[in-house]
């Protein structure tokens, strides 16, 4: 599999949990989430694709939304974690750590001299 395709698929798989991670500390609105994900290189290719993901996560009860006034401009839709979202994030942290360590262990440069 070309590396580029692999990266796309990995990104797609973990994006949801990155969103959960960003929401753990405080509720955020969509644009804010996009900015944070954009700072982490390569996590978001097209910014708009976050919105279908957020809609699905809300349908699944991982996040909940709420309109809040903004200091300037119209109200914003804030996303925050539900109990199910928190649980999902906790479980992902464990399985991500296991996965990363397993892969690191297997692919670690061997031999040397």
């Amino acid at each position: 599999m070309p590396l580029e395709t692999l990266e796309t698929q990995l990104r797609k798989g973990v994006l949801e949990y990155c969103v959960l991670g960003l929401l753990e500390a405080e509720p955020r609105y969509g644009f804010e989430l996009v900015q944070h994900l954009g700072q982490a290189d390569g996590l978001l290719s097209s910014e708009g694709t976050i919105y279908p993901l957020l809609a699905r996560m809300r349908n699944e009860g991982l996040v909940t939304t709420e309109w809040r006034e903004s200091p300037a401009g119209p109200p914003r839709r804030y996303y925050s974690l539900t109990a199910a979202g928190e649980r999902g994030l906790r479980e992902f942290r464990l399985s991500w750590k296991r996965f990363r360590e397993a892969v690191d262990y297997v692919i670690a440069p061997k031999g040397g001299r």
Binding site: Y29, G30, F31, V34, S45, S46, E47, G48, T49, Y51, P52, L53, L54, A55, R56, R58, N59, E60, W67, R68, E69, A72, G73, P74, P75, R76, R77
Partner: protein, 227 residues
Amino acid sequence: MPADAAEILDRYLRELESQLAGLPASDRAEIVLEVRDHFEEARRRLPDPTAADLMNILERLGSPQAIAEEARSRSTAGGAPPPAPALATPPAAYTALEVITLVAWVFWWPLAVVLGAISTRWSRRDKAIAILIELVLLALAAGTVSQTYVSSAGAHWAFTAILFVFPPTVHGIFSAGFLAWKLRHPEPQRWSTPWQVAGRAALIAIGLALVWLLVLGPSLLLFLHSR
């Protein structure tokens, strides 16, 4: 914003909307609304955006096709629905049930309330507003009649009954009109908390007014006349 940029955004959102065909109406509306808000937010953060800046925002958002593809691949509704043709007509916003409901409002509104309750194309809030419109009309009519003709005891209730219970209940056209409009404009209302509070207060006030106009006022008048 420059006029041509406004048009470009408009075309972008329309394209997105049609690309999202096949998804539940509420998801569709939510995604379009969020993408539009994202655009506005990005625009507000630019000191003096040119048309090129605005195009850049859209470019970063990605193509409507890419967003719709993401939506379909992430859809929880099981198997991916067939992709929308490039020039898709907007998805049907209503079925026979909605049409019959609208007609029922003008024919016999209690039936319309029941049919409306079955429909999923209107939010609970919209259905409540339609019923509220009907009740306000009822209250206005009944209140007016009470004060004009109540000297003949029972005329008030008779008139109200004839007007509002026996078909055709033509006054239901206002509720029907509202619901028809909502079918065309399914976007969720953006009510923030202070507005919700004001909205609830208004509903309570209207409710109290209804009780007065329909029950207490007429009863008082009937009581006074009977003495």
